[in-house]
């Protein structure tokens, strides 16, 4: 059997690109250990001294010696960057100075503690919240970095370590940093030795561990942590092996590529699911994404609870997942559809949590998903033992009530009002109708309640209806007692039907709202894309984007473009718009521009800034920065809003790229055309110049040598032929020069208001001699508007047209000039009643070096109409040639009567 074993070209390309990026980047070497005290810093310094001895430029960026003598000794012979004093709540702390490191640019920089958090609240404010981000920037600047990290700081292992040791680490590093490190060196120390060092006081304990030292440094913990570190190291080595296998053409490993989807909800298990997904994706070497499905049911959650998604999706992104928010009627349906389009192999969900009757009434997402799954496996993850984190959902639940109360009280009041309204109507109907018909009134009431008030208030209406119906109408009236048992059935059915109706209608209402919100989003995006598509020039595109983004996100916006020196600057000379964002931090924007990553409000870089800065990145480069200052920060921070904003930025970037590509294509086309024109020009000029030169040289030499022997009439003939030919040559030369100037865009239109009368008159006057044998009739209406044109050029257009008419029609042919207003233009017709146009496409007449007559019979033509076209087009008008219906040719052109927009 033939098996296609050729690697996916896209994947190969991606790998080549990744390798290229890596070659430019600095190399990251991590000294990795199971816990504090295994000697990572010591190992790093020892290695640094070794390469220093070999002459490499090694500099210590930041190392906390913790007062340990052996570490201090190792540091002595190495250059150290000064630390940066940061005022943090009145206390001066000494921190790593990123800018000093970037300025110093050593070959290798040592920065201890990869997981360290910078003092965000300090003064000056650090650029990034986390040290690993500082290190990313150093690597991108091409500086090699050595650093240290413990296994418990790795994001995906964070919860496992917490479960083992009971100590939760707040400082974490994305696994990506660890996985992408060029070299990881495991510093391993057997637990017994470590405990020995601990007892000898050789281990410095970080503050948070210090308090739990007894719980933390127990032998079983240390063994488990060591195992974790070793396993993590092994999986890294395996991954490296796999990468090299993927490069091997005979390997079919890549054929069976796994694709994981982790489905999360707003519950407490979500975080566990994300981390489990990461571990599974690593183990399988699979791509993975985290999907949050927004169902009508979830839309009813409190805002606070929904906001937990922000953190969850951020966590997922930091672990290397792609994150997606879907919306659909039920989570299972949306997941199945999405899993199939993305060709997922496994979908990971939390195990069902509903118990008892609720589990019977409504199938959980996991159950439903298992039922619908086609083409992928469903992996359910059991909930972790509630451990400390259990308090969070409680708090969230409390918040639901807090937030929801004011709204719902009004709704429940309405629900009660509907019930009583139904009762009033029923009371009016009571004397004339059977009781069954009164039931219908109540059912109608429930439907209205469901449509208007939502699920719970309408359920209240349903229950209340039954009670009121019983009390007011069922005999004995005005008592809750029931005389006939059959009414119990009526109540039962009435309640069930009412509840089902309430539920269905409320569901439809929710779904409509979700669909409406989605449709609105799509519509907004479409509105901007459409307007961008119709816009030319980056400045105008930026204005369109500012308008739309400001409208949708309720914020001030500015689009910043780099000037010639690559520095971003504020757009100048624009009409001040009320949505314009003044006072954007250009330094932050420049950082975004240079790094192609977002920064500011809610991002990883400078999250405390008031505004959000998004790069406008195309496939090849960053073309500008979109700066957004929200009136209400929530609107930009909600994940779907942020994704929408990023989509807007993406659309704008695409449009800008399109504009740029169009410009490039246009200039390529122009230069190709110029090339062909040059060739035609050379060929034509050599003919058109040589012929008159031959006549002139011949005539002049005859006059000079034989002048005396010739009679006066012959001498005059010769002199006249010299004059004629000279004039033809002069005409040709000035035509060629004009056309070259027009084509090269050297001619700037000097527009002014002109009357067509004047322009035609001037042209006729200039060409009096040529038109001697051709009577001209000018029939211009008196009420013609003035045209806004460059007078000299338009006179030249008419002159060329008159000249052509005179050249290509027999003497005595009449020429007519007429005009009519036509919207923003005046349409001018230059007609003659001569023999008409030559056969063929009339449009070709306007090409360079076209002649109305075969070469040789008429000299000096071929450029006149091309010049006319260039001039008319430059004015934004059109020019065409056509056969007149009766006889002769018509040249028709339009000239603008309005000023062009600046």
């Amino acid at each position: 059997m033939m098996v296609e074993t050729r690697p996916d070209p896209d994947e190969l390309l991606a790998r080549v690109k990744a390798e290229e990026a890596r070659a430019r980047r600095g190399k990251l070497r991590i000294f990795f250990g199971a816990t504090a005290g295994v000697g990572k810093t010591f190992g790093m310094l020892a290695a640094a001294r070794a390469v220093r001895a070999a002459g490499t430029d090694v500099v210590i960026g930041y190392i906390e010696p913790h007062g340990r003598a052996e570490t201090e000794r190792l540091m002595e012979s190495l250059e150290r960057l000064p630390t940066l004093p940061i005022d943090y709540r009145g206390i001066v702390r000494h921190e790593f100075d990123l800018d000093a490191a970037l300025a110093r640019r050593p070959a290798i920089l040592l920065v201890d503690e990869l997981a360290h958090s910078n003092l965000l609240g300090g003064e000056p404010t650090p650029r990034h919240p986390k040290r690993w981000q500082d290190i990313e920037e150093l690597l991108e600047a091409g500086i090699n970095v050595w650093t240290t990290v413990n296994v418990q700081h790795l994001e995906s292992l964070n919860d496992l370590v917490a479960q083992i040791t009971g100590v939760k680490q707040r400082e974490t590093v994305p696994d990506r940093i660890f996985d992408e490190a060029d070299e990881v060196e495991l510093i391993d120390l057997p637990p017994d030795d470590l405990l020995g060092r601990l007892k000898a006081g050789k281990v410095y304990l970080p503050e948070d561990v210090g308090r739990a030292v007894d719980r933390f440094f127990r032998l079983p913990n240390l063994i488990a942590l060591r195992e974790l570190a070793l396993r993590r190291m092994t999986s890294r080595v395996e991954a490296a092996a796999r990468v090299s296998l993927a490069g091997d053409v005979t390997s079919r490993e890549w054929l069976a590529r796994e694709n994981l989807i982790v489905a999360i909800g707003p519950d407490a298990q979500a975080e566990q699911l994300v981390r489990a997904g990461k571990r599974m994706a690593d183990a399988l070497n699979a791509d993975w994404m985290v999907v949050y499905v927004e169902t009508p049911w979830l839309q009813r959650l409190s805002e606070k609870e929904r906001d937990r998604r922000i953190d969850l999706l951020k966590l997922a992104e930091s672990l290397g997942a792609e994150t997606v928010t879907l919306s659909g009627p039920t989570a299972a349906a949306a997941l199945v559809e999405y899993a199939q389009t993305r060709k997922a192999t496994r979908v990971i969900v939390g195990a069902p949590k509903r118990r008892g009757v609720r589990a019977l009434l409504r199938r959980s997402t996991a159950t439903e998903l298992t039922r619908l799954a086609r083409g992928f496996d469903v992996v359910t993850i059991a909930a972790a033992e509630p451990r400390g984190a259990g308090a969070a959902p409680e708090a969230a639940r409390g918040a639901v009530i807090d937030v929801a109360q004011p709204v719902h009280v009004r709704r429940y009041t309405w629900a009660v009002a509907v019930s009583f309204g139904c009762t009033v109507i029923a009371a009016v109907m009571y004397p004339f109708f059977e009781l069954e018909n009164l039931v219908m009134v109540y059912l109608l009431g429930v439907t209205v309640s469901g449509l208007r008030l939502g699920r719970r208030p309408s359920a209240l209406t349903a229950v209340l209806n039954v009670v009121l119906f019983d009390f007011f109408f069922v005999p004995p009236r005005f008592r809750f007692a029931v005389s006939d048992v059959q009414y119990v059935v009526t109540f039962g059915v009435m309640l069930t039907v009412a509840l089902v109706i309430a539920n269905l209608v409320a569901s439809v209402r929710q779904q409509t709202r979700v669909a409406g919100a989605r449709e609105r989003r799509t519509a907004l995006l479409y509105a901007m894309s459409r307007e961008l598509a119709g816009t030319r020039g980056s400045g105008s595109m930026a204005r369109v984007a500012v308008k739309h983004v400001a409208e949708v996100f309720q914020c001030s916006v500015v689009v910043l473009f780099p000037g010639g020196d690559g520095r971003l600057r504020y757009p100048r000379g624009e009409a001040p718009s009320e949505n314009a964002f003044r006072g954007a931090d250009l330094a932050v924007a420049q950082w975004v521009m240079d790094h192609g990553r977002r920064a500011g409000l809610g991002s990883d870089t400078l999250p405390a800034a008031p505004a959000l800065y998004l790069p406008l990145s195309t496939s090849t480069e960053t073309v500008g920065v979109l700066a957004v200052l929200p009136n209400n920060p929530r609107r930009v921070l909600l994940p779907e809003q942020r994704h929408l904003l990023e989509t807007f930025a993406g659309q704008l970037a695409l449009a800008l790229e399109r504009a740029r590509l169009a410009e490039t294509a246009e200039s390529a086309r122009i230069s190709a055309e110029a090339e062909s024109v040059r060739n035609t020009l050379l060929a034509s000029i050599s003919h058109d110049l040589r012929t008159p030169l031959a006549v002139m040289a011949g005539a002049a030499s005859t006059l000079a040598e034989r002048g005396g022997a010739l009679d006066a009439k012959t001498r005059l003939t010769l002199a006249r032929s010299i004059e004629t030919k000279a004039r033809e040559m002069s005409e040709l030369v000035s035509n060629v020069l004009d056309l070259m100037r027009l084509d090269s865009g050297q001619i700037v239109l000097r527009r002014d208001w002109q009357s067509l009368d004047d322009l035609v008159g001037a042209a006729l006057h200039q060409h009096e001699a040529q038109l001697a044998a051709h009577p001209v009739e000018v029939r211009l209406p008196n009420d013609l508007p003035a045209v806004h044109v460059d007078p000299a050029l338009v006179v030249q257009v008419f002159g060329n047209l008159f000249d052509n008419a005179a050249k290509y029609t027999p003497p005595g042919t009449r020429i007519y000039v007429s005009a009519t207003p036509d919207g923003e233009f005046v349409r001018v017709m230059v007609d003659d009643d001569g023999p008409g146009l030559p056969p063929g496409d009339p449009a070709l007449l306007f090409e360079k070096f076209r002649r109305g007559a075969p070469e040789g019979t008429v000299v000096g033509a071929g450029l006149g109409l091309a010049i006319c076209r260039a001039i008319v087009l430059a004015h934004g008008g059109t020019i065409t040639a056509q056969q007149r219906p009766t006889r002769g040719a018509r040249f028709e052109l339009t000239l603008p009567v309005t000023e062009p927009e600046a």
Binding site: A726, R727, S730, S734, R750, D752, W753, Q754, S755, D757, D758, L759, V760, G761, A762, L764, H765, V776, V778, L780, A786, D790, P791, A792, V794, V795, V817
Partner: protein, 232 residues
Amino acid sequence: MTRAMHQVLVVEDDAGIRDVLRVLLTAENYRVVEASMAQRAEIEARSHKPDLLIVDLGLPDGDGLEVIRRVRAWSPMPIIVLSARTLEPQKVAALDAGADDYVTKPFSSAELLARVRAALRRGVRSTEPDAVLRFGTNEISLARREARGRDGPIHLTPLEYRVLESLARHSGMIVRQDQLLREAWGPGKIGDTGSLRGCIKNLRDKLEADPHRPKHLVTEAGLGYRLRPSED
């Protein structure tokens, strides 16, 4: 012939063109003085005090514009530019520097001679109090503000007389739009080319045989207007 021998100074670096101009002008009974450099031109102009200056713009030791400015600083003599520079901004620059007319190379001898005659006539006319313009069969007396056509008197507004006066003062030569506006309307109207266009159109309707093909009130596209009265 009652005409005195007019003296013309030709500033031109190309010997071939100097030759042609000398033959042409001498044949028309002008005395010709020649200079080939900008510096020489001013010396000749000061020593000969010619009646007319014909100057090329591209000179080996400087720009003709500079020659025009320096001569204009001390003399009102008519100056005609004879240049291969054909672009409108270049013409405007020359007129702004003080030139009265502009003839582009290659030139036809008939046209050049007509301009020379017009320029020299201006020198005489400007002092004449009772100028009479002839447009074909029409006669206009500027001093008496009277216009007569074949079919009787023609009514012209005071403004139209002022425009004609302004054009007549530089008869045969280009008058810039701004100059016309300043002289006929006053400094407040500069830039209002619409009024000027309207006035010229009215004048053509009243005075030209075919207003669409004016022979006397000629538009110089992008520069201004030129009055070409019928030659005697």
